[in-house]
Amino acid sequence: MPKVTFINPDESRVELDVPVGQSLMRAATAAGIDGIVGDCGGGLTCATCHVLVQEEFLPDTPPVTPNEDQMLDFTAMGRHPTSRLSCQLVMTEALDGLVVRIADPQL
């Protein structure tokens, strides 16, 4: 199963097995990673599952939709060039080994 590493705001790291087809938000909240809030459950309404994607993986991530693009502007930490909402990052084999940094704050 593909693996994803989450870097917490305190620099600690958590590695998770994420099944293909599951979003990173869902994997993180199910594993109890507190830095990913995911209030709206993937509905693009809350902007509380903000992550920064390690640059070399960006080409393998799915394109940013207009809705996600708008919500990234409303994140509590503010938008960076590598910002994504983790509810929109659905796991694929190509993303195996992905590393993301959890934005802080989320709310």
């Binding site: 809030v37 459950g41 509905g43 309404t45 809350c46 708008q70 994140t75």
Partner: protein
């Protein structure tokens, strides 16, 4: 709008079994849970014989019908009656009763107006009002938590954010009427309609441009229409949608949280020690008893759902309150447990493109008032029997008698 793929079903299914119960009677509305159980356990989809419509009450089917707009449209109305048919007596909600792609542009324009960035700026004002509400009830000791906490708080901060002037007593009557109108045109609806007749003229006026108070987001909706970001003449209906959707459900959720916490002193003690837990307490409260109980969609074309064959153009009743107690999804679903992982999983705010646009406002209201209480109140206990308002598609308390013991 989740990015995760949804299962697609093809082929022919069985006929949905008939359930010969009217969910919109005072008896069922007073205690909907036996009906929910019946609905969930009979089949993934049933036919409600009395109305000639389908109904779903399991988590998976509810989630699918709410979010798969290619098979289940909102454009024919999210109430029981088909807005495309002659004699439609309810005017269309410009935001809710349409589907992508028309819906998408409007939703994005409104999301800009009440984005998380905008809502976060309201927090300080909400906290000031919460302080005032808590000061007052601490003096009273014996309170009705619906009137003195949930309504006192929500009916002050929400109209102020929207920038409309709504007297408390009008808000309650209008809420009854609006949530009854989503269901059948029965005696319950007719009674609520008679109650609002004296204030209907005021209500129609309350969401017009000239009624918007400077600085509220209602005014921003009119400005967005002027700027061409929203369809011509949509602003009054959109402001009305926020009046409809923004108050009763939040009041209900705060009431449910306090009702359950009063019955579970150990869980209140946890909140008192760590007020950060109020966020999950509120999510669990609206899972356990969901304010918005029922919505409707219309079958776009003959299709199969949960192995059942559905016919085009028929309505599907979606029982969110039933889905949130589906034992296929939740362990011990009838128990209130603030340690449960509920956020982003329950369906109390709906699912898909029409998921509640104001949910971050509702969450902040609940968090601010409940944490203000949790900090300053050591103990809450019931001092009488709570009663419910009986409304076709909304579950909410009428009265919640509580005794509060300050720190």
């Amino acid at each position: 709008m989740s990015a995760e793929p949804r299962p697609v079903e093809d082929g022919k299914g069985g006929l949905p079994p008939v359930l010969d119960v009217d969910p919109f009677t005072e008896e069922v509305l007073a205690d909907p849970y036996p009906f929910h159980e019946h609905l969930r356990e009979l089949a993934p989809v049933v036919e409600l014989a009395r109305y000639g419509i389908y109904a779903v009450g399991r988590h998976d089917e509810v989630q699918t019908v709410m979010s798969d707009h290619e098979r289940f449209m909102a454009a024919a109305g999210t109430g029981l009656y088909d807005l495309r048919k002659p004699g439609a007596w309810r005017s269309r909600s410009p935001l809710l009763e349409c589907d992508p792609p028309d819906h998408t542009r409007m939703r994005m324009a409104l999301t800009r107006i009440i984005s998380p960035v905008v809502v976060r700026k309201w927090r300080a004002d909400f906290e000031t009002e919460a302080q005032r509400v808590v000061d007052r009830i601490i003096d009273m000791r014996e309170i009705d938590a619906v009137r003195d906490v949930a309504e006192a708080f929500v009916l002050t901060v929400f109209p102020a954010s929207l920038g409309v002037d709504i007297p408390h007593e009008n808000a309650v009557a209008i809420g009854d009427m609006n949530f009854n109108a989503i269901g059948p045109n029965n005696d319950i609806f007719q009674r609520s309609l008679r109650k609002v007749e004296p204030i209907l003229e005021w209500y129609q006026q309350s969401f017009q441009r000239e009624s918007m108070i400077e600085g509220g987001f209602g005014q921003r909706i009119y400005e967005a229409e002027d700027a061409g970001e929203l369809p011509v003449d949509s602003a009054p209906g959109l402001v009305r949608s926020f009046i409809r959707g923004g108050m009763d459900t939040t009041i209900a959720g705060i009431g449910f949280a306090l009702n359950q916490l009063a019955r579970n002193p150990a869980q209140w003690a946890k909140l008192h020690d760590d007020p950060a837990l109020v966020k999950s307490a509120f999510e669990e409260a609206i899972r356990h008893e969901s304010p918005s109980q029922t919505q409707f969609r219309t079958v776009v074309r003959n299709t199969v759902l949960g192995g059942m064959q559905l016919v085009a153009d028929r309505k599907v009743a979606i029982f969110m309150g039933a889905a949130n107690r589906d034992k296929r999804k939740w362990e011990r679903p009838e128990e209130f447990d603030i340690s449960r992982r509920t956020t982003g999983v329950h369906l109390a705010f709906g699912w898909g493109a029409h998921q509640c646009i104001g949910q971050m406002i509702a969450r902040m209201e609940a968090e601010v008032i409940l944490s203000a209480l949790a900090r300053r109140v050591r103990r809450i206990e019931l001092s009488g029997t709570p009663t419910y308002r009986l409304i076709n598609t909304l579950r909410t308390l009428e009265c919640l008698p509580l005794r509060v013991e300050p720190v």
